[in-house]
Each structure stands twice: as C-alpha cells, then as structure tokens.
Point group: C3
C-alpha cells in the first residue's frame, strides 16, 4: 500500500488534489461569513435568537451569498470529477512532467476561477478559467481511454 | 501501481466511471447553452455588455435552465457515490461478469435518466431510471459490506 | 489488489466511507417523501396526472423540502471531500487507532448533523456537528501534507 505513496506521480496528485479539495471546502465558511455579514439566512433556527419581526427579514436570499454558493456548486461540479478522473489517470502511469502539468494547470485555473467568481470580475475571466479546468480534466480522461483502446 | 491497471475489473470500472463522469460534466455546457438560448443568467457580469433595461430582464430563472441544473445536481448526487462505492467494490475482488453487469446497468440508467429529465418524458421514466441507478450502487455497497462481515 | 483489502486501515475506511455515502444517498428518497407529503414538486411531469388548477398549486417550493435539500447539499459538500481525502490519508499509512478515531468522529458528526438539520434543532447543534466533521477532514489532509514535507 505504501508503494503507491512512494510513486512520484501519486505524490504530486495527492498534493494538488488536497489543495483543490481544501479550497472547495473553504467556500462553506465563506458562505457563512457572507450570510452573517449580509444578514441573509436560510434556516429558521439560525435566527431563533432574534425578535419576531427581525427574524422574517433575515430569512432571505442575498446576491452576494448566492454568488458564493454558485461558486461552491461549480467547485463541486468540477473539482470532484478532477480528483476522480485524476486518480485513474495517475494509476494509468503517465509521465511525471505531463501529469504535473495537468495538475498545476487545473489547480491554477480553479483558484483563478474562485477569485473571478467571488470578485465578480469582468467576463471572460470566470468563463475562461472554467473552460481551462474542464479541458484539463477531459484531457486526462482522454489519455486513459486512448490507452485502453490502444489508439 | 500498474498492477491495478492490468486488472480486468479495474479496467472495466475505469472505463464506465470515466463515461458517467464525462456525461455529468456535459451538463455544465448544456446549462450554458440553455442560459444563452433562453436568455436567463445568474451573474451580473454575464450580462454586462447589455444595456441597463435589458440587463435586468436577463437576470432571471427559466424553467428549462432550472431543469438542466436539477439534472446536473441529480448526477452529482448519484454518479459521485457510484464512482466512490464502485472503486471500493472493484478492490473487493468481485467476479468480472457481475461487476460489468453492475457498471453497465448503472451507466445505462444514468444516460436514460438524463434523456428523460432534459426531455421532460412522462413519469415514471425519470423516476425508474433513478431507482435502477440507486439500486445498482446500493447492491455494490451491500456486496462489500457483506464480505467484511462474512454474511 | 486484494492486498489493500487485507489492510486493517483500508477495511475501516471502506466501512465508514460506505456508511456515510449510503447515509447521503438516503437524502434523495427523503426529499421525495417530503415532496409527496407536502405537495411541493419541481418538474411538470411529476404532476401531469393532476387537473390543470391543482397542477399549478403543486409546482411550488416548501420549507420542509428545501430543508432536506440543503441537508443533502451539505452532505455532498462534506461527505465527498471526506471520502476523497480519507482515501489518500488511508494510503499514507496512519496508525490504525488514529485512523479509526478520525473515521468514527466524522461519521458520528454527520449523522448528528442530519438529525439536527432535518429536525430543525436549536443552534449550535447543526453548526457544531458541521464544524467537527470539517475539522476531522482537515486534520486528515494536514496529516498527509505534513508527511510529504516531513514537518
């Protein structure tokens, strides 16, 4: 079992996978931060300590909260496939340099994606960083599938 | 490490896992397609090039966009568990024929699920395909757990 | 391949991972249960057998349905990272007792989280159980990363 941990590609994969997963998990505290800051909650028990009138006001959606939540959702939709496909790709025995290139481009694209999303940067910042991440993941999947069929 | 890649069950698992993950990832461009086609966007920067009045009109939800997003969400809720449980199931050393049967039924059920969801087919098309996929994943989990406890 | 399955840490990881994934998957039938019970559906084909007037009434959101859906979403955002990071952590060769402690605390925290969320318990029940689960996952990630850099 420790053999896999000695492998350079797997070590690189683990490091970058942990970084992007931790980045994704950061979105939850960030959502809470915006919920408290903007006064926009979703569950009644979160505003139970407030008086009746104020309670109703706080149970609402706010554009800034929704923006962070969409960013979190986009992470789920892209980071999780990257980790799953990246693991299979790592096992398929790619060249270390090619593998690290894939992992770095993906990680960079997702960090830039989060900054452009939360910061509401002008398009196509967010769109492009999303596409770069998508292309990296598809490229890894293509590598594995073409190896299986000996293309 | 390459030992796993020589294993027939793992090769089958990898192939079907990649197919369903790529299918799931396809939902993102499909959402964008419907957003542009129906003129229903979520972020202000996506409509920044429009004039003031038109901008407000385009920041809305549309039933077709929401439908594709629900389908994407349902994929996340089912495809990711399939891949995670399927990997543990693959390592537990199942018979090749039984494993391939599980992978094929799941993959087929999810493709049919997406078609019935996006195409708004009469129920119980979507409901049944969802249940078949769920049952396949639960069956794999049951196989692993019963092996652990020597049932 | 079966070597991994003989490993005690991996066996423990597999068991707890399967439990929390199955728990997460349970949220889908629970959502359907609340949709039917409260009469709050999202897709037109789900209410196609009703008459015109009733159909429109049933296409709505209901706080109880939204609550279960938020709980499901929170599971996706936390259980999936736990399984992915937990797998890498398992491969990094931790002590069996430390590993089982991590897995048990996480599993317990998520079960309590679901009960407090669906049951609308007073805060900080839900908040604390969420934070405990988050801390467990971050602790596993920290273990792996510190091993890589020989801290």
């Amino acid at each position: 079992m420790l053999d896999l941990m000695q492998d350079e590609v797997f070590k690189a994969f683990s490091t970058y996978a942990l970084i992007v997963i931790l980045k994704m998990m950061l979105m939850a505290p960030l959502t809470t931060f915006y919920r408290v800051r903007r006064g926009a909650f979703a569950s009644e028990e979160d505003v139970a300590h407030k008086s009746g009138e104020e309670r109703k006001k706080l149970l609402r959606t706010h554009p800034d909260v929704e923006r962070v939540r969409r960013c979190h959702q986009n992470d789920l939709e892209n980071v999780v496939p990257f980790v799953l496909i990246g693991f299979i790709y790592t096992l398929s025995g790619p060249q270390l340099s090619a593998a690290i290139l894939h992992f770095r481009i993906f990680t960079g694209s997702r960090i830039f994606h989060t900054i452009s999303y939360v910061g509401a940067f002008h398009q196509p910042c967010r769109g492009l960083s999303f596409l770069v991440g998508l292309a990296t993941t598809v490229s890894m999947a293509y590598n594995v599938l073409s190896q299986f069929s000996n293309l």
